[in-house]
Amino acid sequence: MSKNQEFVKFDKVDKSYDGKVLVVKDLNLDIAEGEFITMLGPSGSGKTTCLMMLAGFETPTNGEIFLDKNPISNIPPHKRGIGMVFQNYALFPHMTVYENLAFPLKVRKINKDEIDKKVDKALSMVSLSGFENRMPGQLSGGQQQRVAVARALVFDPQVVLMDEPLGALDKNLRESMQYEIKHIHESIGVTVVYVTHDQSEALTMSNRIAVFNDGKVQQLSSPDKLYEEPVNSFVAEFIGENNTFAGEVTNFQKDQCKVKLSNGSEIIANPISVSSNGDRTTVSLRPERALINTKNKMDNNFKGKIEEVIYHGDHTRVRIDLLGNKEFILKVPNSSANMDIKMGNEINVSWNSHDARALDPK
């Protein structure tokens, strides 16, 4: 049985709340059956609005959303059969854990034995068996979160939406919950649409990530591709750390170009979104791709002055004044070879032109 590649389909969806500003602009997005897709973006980028439109709490101003090839704009939320996990869990505070989980089954008129079985199964899935008679208020944040996940899954929905579900948890708990949700997704194969503004969460959990900004999907790809090959400066800036040089393309070739910086020096870069000489560009370089005092042969070699050294245990962050950029960051692994890193020293910094991506100007 081949999986439906367009299980959820946003087709030219626009959304405006006030008739003046578009919160979501011309959104086209296909989500495959069984996929874990994350909508990632800063607050106000329209990602939650997309989720709410899918859940049925907002209506698209234009365009249509399809679920398994059926348009759903006119179906009220309670008939869509989409499970949802809310940011603040939204557990019913006056019901026990059992009653919370039984709610979606009871409204579907499922008989008592079946309900008991399903609730049992869902609770054991989130390792909360035996908590049936607790009230949500008696549970810790992590436990409440798990109950919310179990409740969204207990009625076997086709799609589960999660709206920043881990936002209220502390860091350690958040990380362990990330794995737990990922494992649950892998074991039951449900389609998950996950919204977050935390990039590490998105990178850890998803099959694919849609980076939102300004109401548009900036890039939709797998986590590794998103990090390694950002298609524009916003994505490069938003995902991970990033060093940038602003300049002008001078020597454009198909797989290489020269970029003249404001201080006059030229660097060699990988042309991604520039097409001819004279284009303004922002060159983006990941900190870990630039090496210091290396013996490897690389096509970019420059001298820089160390401005600041921050000790991080396993690595050291070094801020360097390089080619007029005083915010150039390097990550130096902690090894005995690198003991001469001190403030004020001059060092050689080199990188491959392939890793320096010439993107759109900011």
Partner: protein, 417 residues
């Protein structure tokens, strides 16, 4: 357990409990001083008057003090036959003393409350007693009037011996102690108080119900509307609070009277004939309308404050889990508003059963409540002890409702804001 565990000492060797108490004493004193003025105020303006009211409602010392010797000599009398000579002698001495102090009039009023017919025979006794000879008072007094020879009248005097009486409470329930000391109801056509109690409860109940039905949607709207609209609506709800109660009631009189605005409107749209205008005032209708309007904010505010705390994502969760809007409302939203409903209903009900001005002005004869009767006895008949007794019965009723509410819903579930 605790005796087995060793006492924990602080670093300086003082037992931990002692040290803790010492550290907290200062805070406790501070806290007490902060509430002390209010406590003092409540003591003077609430506890003390209520206590005084209680005393007044059962106080029957007046007669006891006027006839001290009589009641002492009556202790041995069983009340079956005529009292012995010593009772007559004691009564004569007490009465002569009262005549000297010119307090015999009060005695006759009081005794007349107990049994009709005392007034005239006491007057006669006062005239004849001037010429009484010493000794054999029994025959002399019995000769004054034939009622003095009737054992019933002596029993009636004896009934006034105790310094405390429940008579006022029984009267409030349209009951009294008959000559045999049994508690019986008054004749059917004289039972005015029971009707009033029932009407008070009925009006309070329906006013509470009406307030609830109207306040619930308003409070919901207030809690869910965007700030700029909800503020305006809130002002509309609170507007009655800023207007004098008397003015509001008077404006209802203008609206509801037979030639009033509402009736004019009904006639204009042809709902009623001009010569057949319904009476909407000086009856229960007027009381219902005016009291519901006036008490509405007391229902809206607790409901609003509770609804404000219910996260809208709960309703969304209910719907996303497959509940229809109605099921989600009934199973999720409504149960969460119960603390507000409880608080609002209790507040409105308790205010309604003690309501005074509005029923007095728009209630007429069939729309007045027990509080109007209390006011009547305080101002017109000056029977303060009866007014106190009814006031305390009202208080007991409120406490009973509170108790029932606590049993049913639990007082911890109340939320006023």
């Amino acid at each position: 357990m605790s005796s087995e565990t060793e006492k924990i000492l602080t670093t300086d060797g003082i037992p931990l409990e002692v040290s803790l108490k010492k550290a907290e004493r200062k805070n406790k004193i501070k806290a007490f001083l902060l509430v002390a003025p209010l406590l003092f105020f409540l003591l003077i303006t609430y506890i003390f008057p209520i206590g005084d009211m209680l005393m007044r409602s059962v106080d029957d010392k007046m007669v006891t003090e006027m006839l001290p010797k009589t009641f002492k000599s009556m202790e041995k009398w069983d009340g079956n036959e005529m009292p012995p000579e010593e009772v007559f002698e004691a009564f004569y001495l007490d009465f002569q003393k009262l005549v000297e102090e010119k307090r015999d009039g009060k005695l006759s009023t009081q005794l007349n409350y107990t049994k009709n017919g005392f007034k005239s025979i006491l007057k006669k006794l006062r005239r004849k007693a001037k010429n009484f000879e010493e000794g054999n008072y029994k025959d002399q007094i019995m000769a004054v009037h034939k009622r003095w020879a009737d054992v019933e009248y002596w029993r009636a005097i004896k009934r006034r011996a105790p310094a405390f009486t429940s008579a006022k409470y029984l009267k409030g329930m349209d009951m009294y102690k008959n000559e045999e000391g049994e508690i019986v109801s008054v004749e059917e056509d004289r039972r005015i108080h029971r009707v009033l109690w029932l009407r008070t409860l009925e009006i309070a109940f329906f006013v509470t119900l009406l307030c609830f039905l109207m306040a619930y949607p308003i409070a919901h709207l207030l809690a869910t509307l965007p700030m700029k609209y909800s503020n305006l609506l809130m002002i509309c709800v609170l507007l009655p609070f800023w207007t004098s109660l008397l003015v509001r009631t008077a404006s209802w009189m203008i609206l509801l009277q037979q030639q009033g605005v509402v009736n004019d409107f009904f006639v204009m749209i042809g709902l009623v004939a001009d010569d057949n205008r319904p009476e909407m005032m000086y009856n229960k209708t007027g009381t219902y309308v005016a009291m519901t309007q006036i008490l509405l904010p007391f229902m809206v505010l607790p409901l609003y404050s509770v609804m404000k705390t219910i996260s809208p994502s709960l309703m969304r969760a209910g719907k996303s889990l497959g509940g229809t809007p109605f099921v989600t409302f009934w199973k999720v939203y409504f149960p969460l508003t119960i603390p507000g409903i409880g608080a609002g209903c209790l507040l409105v009900f308790i205010l309604a059963i003690g309501y005074y001005i509005t029923p007095a002005l728009v209630g007429g004869a069939s729309g007045t409540l027990i509080s109007n009767q209390i006011a009547f006895h305080m101002k017109s008949t000056l029977d303060w002890s009866f007014a106190s007794a009814m006031g305390l019965m009202l208080l007991a009723g409120v406490l009973a409702i509170y108790w029932v509410y606590n049993k049913l819903v639990g007082i911890d579930n109340i939320k006023l804001g």
